[in-house]
């Protein structure tokens, strides 16, 4: 098939990150093509929740990056044609004991210092938050800038926005081989012919290492499996995102005071009301290869955890469960970086559970890097070469 097509930039991966890159790059008039092996939002971006959070980010660089992303998404609501269920109610973390309250206070202090809109909540506040919350909770904290989107609709909306700015999107197009030819042009062989580009962005999330391998680039990302439960609308349980403080500990790998199986599965409550009035309940974290089959025992422990925090949902109904792969990195930060070993090759992957939160800022920063503009956030902590050679292998 003589199907040779050339453009300036090719982004591989049509998840929320790839779509954001296609959107911001095409908006800045770059000639960009997106290649997706299945269809838009068919991997992690449709097997997750839709929280755009600063509440669970390390205070400082990490939480400020989220705040920037929140501001961009706020604008996207006006810019994009397709609605994506955007809401901006803030979010809440709840504490089970005095120890967590003390840690929460430190968290709030640090976040406030970093310029974010955080404050502590007492028992009375929790009662006002939701009449479904357990009576024995000590209190918690809130972040008022946090927002919620429908992740696959935002992916579709950015994809369509990118097309309007002239981006080309090829779905069901899998990159089988990637190399640089003698003229230093990237050649991408796919099941639908060959493409060429001056620059390539790897936005394949948990699958990014496979693309890296084609250029002999080791990308230290591992798939981490996470389960989500969908529960049916009956009565409104809470109006915004509620998580247990232990989620932070589970995320950053600290010691929690829970039973060994809950600990093993990394099961921690994340509650998200959706636009359809259903609610999502997570979460779990497991290293289990690329398997996305729902594990009944994990789901059982997530349900248990949900009932511990919301006892009165015990007779509400679970209608669906699913699992997705979070692209994990050792320091919990994504890789948003040019790769010096392969000039013109960029990585935008490794967001673990923060891909929805950070997609917009990731797309923006890649666009700025490619255009040679000053980036919206410092990119030093996101560099590919921050990992030691040992970690890369």
């Amino acid at each position: 098939m003589a199907n040779n097509r050339h453009c300036d930039v090719i982004v591989i991966g049509g998840g929320i990150v790839g779509s954001a890159i296609a959107y911001y790059c095409s908006k800045s008039e770059l000639d960009i093509t997106l290649l997706e092996k299945k269809e838009l939002a068919s991997g992690t971006s449709s097997k997750c929740d839709g929280n755009i959070l600063a509440v669970d980010k390390d205070p400082g660089f990490d939480s400020q990056m989220s705040l920037k992303s929140q501001n961009l998404v706020h604008k996207l609501k006006e810019e994009l044609e397709i609605p994506f269920d955007y809401r901006n109610p803030g979010s809440v973390l709840v504490c089970e004991n005095e120890l967590e309250m003390e840690a929460a206070q430190r968290w709030v202090d640090q976040q406030q210092e970093a310029g974010l809109d955080f404050r502590m909540l007492d028992r009375e506040d929790l009662r006002n938050e939701s009449s479904y919350l357990a009576d024995d909770l000590f209190g918690g904290l809130e972040c008022r800038t946090d927002s919620i989107v429908n992740p696959y609709m935002l992916t579709y909306a950015m994809g369509q926005g990118a097309k309007k700015f002239g981006a080309k999107i090829h779905t069901h197009t899998e990159v089988k081989n990637l190399y640089k030819n003698q003229k230093k042009i990237f050649v991408l062989e796919t099941n639908h012919g060959t493409f060429t580009a001056n620059k390539v962005v790897n936005a394949c999330g948990a699958w990014a290492p496979y693309i890296g391998e084609m250029l002999d680039i080791n990308i230290p990302i591992k798939p981490r499996k996470g389960h989500v439960i969908v529960a049916s609308r009956q009565k409104p349980v809470a109006s915004r995102n509620v998580m247990e403080f232990g989620y932070l500990i589970s995320k950053f790998g600290g010691e929690r005071q829970v039973d060994p199986i809950t600990e093993k599965y990394g099961a921690a409550l994340v509650f998200e009301p959706t636009e359809s009035q259903n609610f999502l309940v997570g979460s779990s974290r497991q290293f289990n290869g690329y398997d996305t089959k729902v594990d009944h025992d994990v789901v059982k422990h997530i349900a248990k955890r949900a009932v511990r925090f919301f006892p009165k949902i015990r007779d509400m109904t679970v209608i669906r469960t699913y699992a997705g792969l979070r692209p994990w990195t050792i320091d919990h930060l994504p890789i948003i970086s040019h790769v010096e070993e392969a000039p013109g090759f960029y990585i935008a992957a490794g967001h673990e559970g923060d891909g929805i939160s950070l997609a917009a800022i990731t797309g923006k920063v890649i666009e700025e890097m490619i255009n040679g503009f000053e980036t919206s956030i410092p990119t030093e902590p996101l560099r590919y070469d921050r990992f030691s050679m040992e970690e890369r292998v």
């Binding site: 269809e39 838009l40 939002a41 068919s42 449709s46 696959y152 609709m153 579709y156 779905t171 069901h172 639908h192 529960a231 049916s232 359809s276 729902v294 009944h296 789901v299 059982k300 422990h301 997530i302 349900a303 248990k304 955890r305 949900a306 009932v307 949902i313 015990r314 007779d315 509400m316 109904t317 679970v318 209608i319 669906r320 469960t321 699913y322």
Partner: protein, 90 residues
């Protein structure tokens, strides 16, 4: 009765016209059609409308070479209460 107004997904109240127009506009697979319209995402998990959603998506005369796959099944087999799933009853 007008065929367009026929409700295909009763749980999410999605009618035939919405499904047909969305399928036509986006030339998409049944999975994407489901996500864009919410047909099949309600209480019964698509047990009533799954075949019709598949059929509407796959009757597109699109140019795209789509792999015709039908909608997947996700657990649980039927809706289950939180307490039966994770409560101490187990």
């Amino acid at each position: 009765m007008n065929k367009d107004e026929l409700i295909i997904c009763r749980c999410e109240e999605v009618n035939y016209q919405t499904l047909r127009d969305t399928a036509h506009k986006y030339q998409c697979t049944s999975r994407e059609l489901k996500l864009r319209t919410r047909a099949g995402m309600g209480y019964c998990g698509g047990r009533s409308c799954r075949l019709m959603v598949d059929k509407i998506a796959n009757s597109n005369e699109g140019e795209q070479d789509l792999t015709y796959i039908s909608l997947k099944y996700q657990p649980p087999v039927r809706p289950i209460k939180f307490e039966d799933l994770g409560g101490d009853k187990n």
